[in-house]
């Protein structure tokens, strides 16, 4: 009886090939902005549908309507053949829809199994019973996890496994994944896709949201493309290719090549020697690394998220203390200097944190105010002079075609792409000799990404030493001259990007061996 109770919400027995979700003419407005305009989307049981679109194309809005966070203004949604009104996540779950968000919705201090059982009806199962049940589900689809492990002790991939188990535990047959591969290594991505394929065989309907074309072609049966909130087309994956998908997504032919200008004068300018950095909780973030940054080239930094990239960048910029070692800039040690002194020397950090505004920019100030943050100490005396900053800001708007009503408009009102241009542009106008950028294209659409690549290439041509910390391996390999691979804070290899293979880098990212 209890067993019955804890696997609720089983959608009615669903035949493979029938529509699991059928959206017709779904429209959603936020004020005057139309986020979804007459969108059609269908997915059948036993099928994987990719939802493709650039940032701001309305993918997430559409999914939020399926998960009950927003309510459509017009249009109809049918789930398993029946008209559905989804007013809350509870409704959505009861209809058999399982949503896996990009930012996992897990309670950090709970164990995996408590998270899995969270919010399900029925009585609270004793730990042992729950454990057996979770392990049973794992076996069914070939997942491995320790049900008693707490979430904060888990890797990103393990957390995702927990999210998938949450859906399976509830017996939901419709699975929606929002950019699930953004945080995974290539190996983990393969594993995830194997699981999704197995779920497809078992008759689940899967929607995967992504903007990575390679993955779309790899995993999906059909692709639905959105652009600026509008439904563009649905194509069969077998009958399409990257070029066609890009055109549908961007709306015009786009060259997917990234320029890689010849290297300039290669002079060693920044040198890390035996650098070790410890996180506040005592764990080692960067472990005894030594490397060299040269002018006139782009040094790519690859690695799974959290392999020490952030700490390394921040230590060079003086934001983070190093435990041991040195960072030599033209024979001067940067460790122990404060950020202002380092930035005066010409070493600049253009860090794009996950939330873009969290670090680097003050959200409620305009571009002028944010430019001032870097130059406030230039004039002597207690008063500030906004004129030069205003001039610089206007120059940036022209040069990078930043879209903003005025240079005084708070940056929080600007779109993600424009915010990133401001962040990067501000570092560039101060003519750095070393430019460190971390995830500068995170969350940007294709056009803005290419603007950023061009900017970095321009810096390289001006003989600036550029460090590019990135997450997309393809981009890293096309843009950088050398790629340094980090794994658990150690350098596992520095390879020539012109000759290295993707497999080789992927192996280095996990420490040179296959990792469970």
């Amino acid at each position: 009886m209890a067993q019955q109770n804890t696997t609720p919400n089983q959608a009615e027995p669903s035949a493979v090939g029938e529509y699991a979700i059928e959206c017709r003419g779904v429209t959603k407005r936020f004020g005057t902005v139309v986020a979804n305009d007459g969108v059609d989307l269908t997915v059948r049981y036993g099928e994987i549908l990719a939802l493709l679109g650039e940032n701001g194309s309305g993918k997430t809005t559409l999914m939020n309507m399926l998960s009950g966070i927003y309510h459509p203004d017009s249009g109809s949604i049918r789930i398993a053949g029946k008209e559905a009104v989804i007013n809350s996540p509870e409704d959505s779950m009861a209809l058999g829809i399982g949503m896996i968000y990009q930012h996992f919705k897990l309670v950090d201090v709970f164990t995996a199994m408590d998270n899995i059982a969270l919010g399900t009806p029925g009585r609270r199962l004793p730990a042992r019973e729950l454990r057996t049940k979770v392990e049973g589900i794992c076996k069914g689809v070939g997942l491995t996890i320790d049900p008693a492990k707490r979430i904060y002790e888990m890797s990103v991939s393990e957390k995702q496994t927990v999210e998938i188990l949450k859906v399976l535990y509830r017996g939901q047959k419709i699975l929606i994944l929002d950019e699930p591969t953004a945080v995974l290594t290539p190996q983990e991505t393969d594993k995830l896709f194997a699981i999704l394929r197995r779920m497809r065989e078992q008759g689940c309907a899967v929607i995967i949201i992504t903007h990575k074309l390679g993955e779309v072609l790899d995993i999906s049966d059909r692709v639905t493309i959105l652009r600026r909130g509008k439904y563009i087309d649905t194509v069969n994956t077998a009958e399409t290719d990257e070029q066609q998908l890009t055109e549908l997504m961007v709306g015009r032919p786009v060259s997917l090549e990234i320029d890689r200008p010849e290297q300039g004068e290669l002079n060693s300018i920044l040198k890390a020697v035996d650098l070790t950095i410890r996180k506040p909780d005592g764990a080692i973030a960067v472990d005894d690394v030594s490397f060299e940054v040269r002018t006139g080239e782009i040094l790519g930094v690859a690695g799974i998220a959290g392999s020490g990239q952030k700490e390394l960048c921040e230590a060079i910029a003086g934001l983070y203390p190093a435990e041991k070692g040195a960072v030599l800039y033209r024979k001067e040690n940067l460790i122990g200097k404060n950020p202002r002194e380092i930035s005066r020397l010409g070493v600049h950090l253009g860090f794009v944190p996950e939330d873009r505004l969290g670090m680097g920019l003050v959200a409620s100030m305009g571009m002028v105010g944010n430019m001032m943050l870097k130059t406030y100490d230039a004039p002597k005396g207690p008063f500030i002079d906004t004129a030069p900053a205003r001039e610089q800001a206007e120059e940036l708007v022209d040069k990078l075609s930043i879209v903003t009503p005025s240079v005084d408009t708070p940056v929080r009102l600007m779109s993600g792409g424009n915010v990133q241009k401001v962040l990067l542009g501000r570092e560039i106008v101060s003519k750095p000799s070393v430019l460190i950028t971390a995830y500068p294209v995170r969350g940007l659409d294709i056009n803005s990404s290419y603007t950023v690549y061009d900017l970095l290439n321009e810096q390289k041509k001006d003989n600036v030493a550029v460090v590019y910390v990135g997450e997309d391996l393809d981009v890293l390999m096309e843009l950088s001259d050398r790629i340094m691979v980090l794994c658990h804070g150690k350098i596992t290899g520095i390879v020539d990007a012109r000759t290295a293979t993707k497999d080789q880098i992927a192996r280095l990212m996990v420490g040179g061996k296959e990792e469970a």
């Binding site: 201090v109 969270l118 609270r124 949450k166």
Partner: protein, 316 residues
């Protein structure tokens, strides 16, 4: 002497226990309610006035609980529904609650022919220490365990019930998930808003009963202004001291209860200190606890991760 001290300490700890458990419930869903002092004051006022008029202990307790719920409702509407700042809303509730209780007290005093407000005999008898034939007559144990006002037992039962709720029930797990990560709870289909209201309101009601103890027992059944006298603030700190566990709140409030009655039980022949020093002691220790607990480095699974942060579903 020691026995008397312990018995007195348990009595003195009771209002703290109610306040701590009530505040714990609120903090478990991520709402730091600094209005404990205010909710206790309103509960004190309602409990005393209703007790005086009805001459019934039961009605007094129910009124105190209800008044606490209403006071907490102000806070819940402000912070849960309108997403106002929790600290400001809580502080405002304290100022409002203490002021309202004093105002009503003075108003009633003005209408009292005798110039004082005193509880009638019936309710006083009901609140007196219990006497269970046989058990209460046992030497030492009788006095140590079976001699208290019903308040004491109600408080302990509530603390135990809350512990069972958190540890053993599904709803308890859901509530803790809300406190740690409301977005995760929401995505798991738990109605975050409903549980936040429930916990804040029930917590307020429990604080209200704590206030009633102050008004009905501490001053011997006579109404005086400011009768909660800062105990609500100690309760806020005690939540941290008790690591957000209702069961630990029993021991935590006992320690503070002991500190409050210490001055009566330290013989002047041993050490002679000004009473002001004793009165200050609980507050000094409260401050120390807050300092020490903020230095704790180890990850504590009980601290609600979203404490003090309002949840807005569409924010991302």
């Amino acid at each position: 002497m020691l026995l008397k001290f312990i018995v007195a300490a348990i009595g003195a700890s009771t209002p703290l226990l109610f306040g701590t458990v009530g505040e714990t419930l609120s903090e478990k869903v991520g709402h730091l309610n600094l209005g404990v002092e205010g909710m206790m004051s309103i509960g004190a006022c309602a409990g005393f006035m209703v007790g005086m008029m009805t001459d019934s202990f039961l009605w007094a307790i129910l009124a105190a609980f209800g008044a606490g719920v209403l006071a907490a409702l102000i806070y819940a509407v402000l912070t849960v529904t309108f997403m106002a700042d929790q600290n400001v809303s809580g502080l405002t509730l304290t100022i409002f609650g203490v002021g309202l209780a004093n105002f009503i007290g003075i108003f009633m005093l003005g209408h009292s022919p005798s110039g004082t407000l005193k509880l009638p005999d019936g309710i006083t008898a009901q609140m007196r220490g219990v006497h269970i034939p046989g058990l209460s007559d046992l030497p030492v144990i009788g006095e140590l365990l079976f001699s208290y006002s019903p308040f004491v037992y109600i408080g302990i039962v509530i603390a135990i019930l809350c512990t069972v709720f958190m540890r053993k029930t599904k709803a308890g797990l859901n509530v803790q998930a809300i406190g740690h990560n409301p977005a995760a709870a929401d995505a798991a289909g738990i109605s975050v808003t409903r549980w936040k209201y429930t916990m804040i309101l029930v917590g307020g009601g429990i604080c209200g009963i704590g206030g009633a103890y102050c008004a009905l027992i501490i001053n011997g059944g006579v109404w005086i202004s400011n009768n909660v006298g800062g105990l609500g603030w100690i309760a806020v700190a005690l939540v941290i001291f008790a690591k957000w566990k209702p069961l630990y709140a029993i021991w935590g409030s006992f320690v503070f209860g002991a500190l409050r009655v210490l001055k009566y039980y330290v013989p002047a022949s041993v050490i002679q200190l000004p009473t002001a020093l004793y009165d200050m002691l609980p507050f000094v220790i409260t401050a120390l606890i807050l300092v020490v607990s903020s230095m704790r480095k180890k990850r504590d699974h009980n601290i609600p991760g979203s404490l003090g942060v309002n949840y807005f579903r569409e924010e991302r």
